[in-house]
């Protein structure tokens, strides 16, 4: 028979863990709301930007080659992995790491792969396991700003235009809803020219020339794409953590119920045996 005090201790430790997990769930829920708002804010910007870009590139001759869309034979490849700084969010980080490894070892095994890591979790993993980590950006999450992300994006664009890498792939969690994340591996560079859609093109005046505007717009849209990936990942992180903590709280509740039942049974058994002893003792005196 388990010691009553022991069970009581376990119940109280489960209870305090439950308090922590449910508090973390609340915090994540609040942060999720914020992160979701940020994405919703970004969407009109991103959509409009692609719209203008499509509008212009449609009226441009495709003969013109642009620095960011040059396709080269893929030998050196750069992965940009977006994970979180903190754990306790289910398979959120390990999914990204797994996907990246499978891309490196299967799809692109004949290429030299390098990694730019955003988020402590993937930075730690990839540096520990001897992958070629070019740079890490873990402090970005203290405050996610467009400028901060722009700098990273500019860095990536520079190494691409210097022909150091022939292809850049983004690996991140796309936010679908609080409970589901979609792991995405997206081609970042070279830029694929947007699909021609039948949109109404007004008779625009271009100021300065179309070409210059395109040169201006493409880096901008690349920055926006990275920014969106990071915001997506940030929202997913909180969604994943919220779900994980919800499950943990539920499990703790179950465990607590089981333990309480067990505790009561043990207590009853102890009382019964005590009564039996007393009765037995009394009977022995009478007898």
């Amino acid at each position: 028979m388990a010691n009553l005090k022991e069970i009581r201790n376990r119940i109280s430790s489960v209870e305090s863990t439950m308090q922590i997990t449910s508090a973390m769930k609340m915090v994540s829920a609040a942060k999720l709301k914020k992160a979701q708002d940020a994405i919703i804010q970004l969407r009109p910007y991103a959509n409009k930007l692609t719209e203008i870009l499509v509008n212009i590139s449609e009226s441009l001759d495709n003969s013109e080659e642009n620095l960011f869309s040059t396709k080269r034979e893929v030998k050196n490849i750069l992965f940009v992995t977006v994970t979180s700084n903190r754990g306790l969010c289910g398979g959120f980080n390990s999914n990204i790491i797994k996907r990246t490894i499978s891309l490196i070892t299967e799809d692109y095994k004949n290429c030299n792969s390098s990694i730019i890591s955003i988020g402590k979790k993937s930075s730690e993993y990839f540096s520990k396991n001897d992958f070629n980590v070019v740079s890490t950006h873990d402090d970005l999450y203290n405050e996610i700003t467009f400028e901060g992300v722009s700098k990273i994006a500019e860095g990536i664009m520079n190494v691409f235009t210097d022909a150091k890498y022939d292809k850049v792939i983004l690996v991140y969690n796309q936010f679908k809803n609080a409970a589901t994340q979609i792991i995405m591996n997206e081609n970042y560079l070279p830029v694929e020219t947007p699909e021609n859609q039948t949109t109404i093109i007004g008779d625009y005046i271009f100021e300065p020339s179309k070409e210059e505007i395109v040169q201006e717009l493409i880096p901008k849209s690349l920055k926006t794409q990275l920014f969106k990936a990071i915001l997506d990942s940030y929202a997913s992180e909180h969604g994943a953590r919220m779900t994980a903590m919800h499950k943990a709280t539920d499990n703790a509740n179950d465990l607590k119920d089981d333990l309480t039942l067990f505790y009561n049974k043990a207590r009853q058994a102890a009382i019964t045996s005590e009564i039996l002893e007393i009765v037995g003792g009394a009977e022995a005196l009478n007898g």
Binding site: Q41, L49, T145, D203, I205, E207, E212
Partner: protein
């Protein structure tokens, strides 16, 4: 005409305006009502708006793009 200024982080301005002055990449320019459709790149500088009730407002930007179509201006600013 209607003006919208959108940044990646938020919508900075939306409303009826009389005229807007932009820091274009090849020099500043002003857009009045019923301007022809235009797409232009902007450089670092101030956007000066005169709203429908004759107030002047300023927005500092680090660059951006504007699109004007059917009396609606959309500014994508950084």
């Amino acid at each position: 005409m209607i003006l919208e200024i959108i940044t990646p982080e938020k919508k900075a301005f939306e409303g009826e305006v009389v005229s807007v002055k932009f820091p274009g990449i090849s020099g500043g320019f002003e857009i009045l009502n019923n301007h022809a459709p235009i797409i232009s790149a902007l450089s670092k500088g101030d956007i000066r708006i005169i709203t429908a009730d004759n107030k002047t407002e300023n927005f500092g930007i680090n660059g951006g793009v504007i699109e004007m179509q059917q009396n609606k201006i959309i500014v994508l600013a950084d």
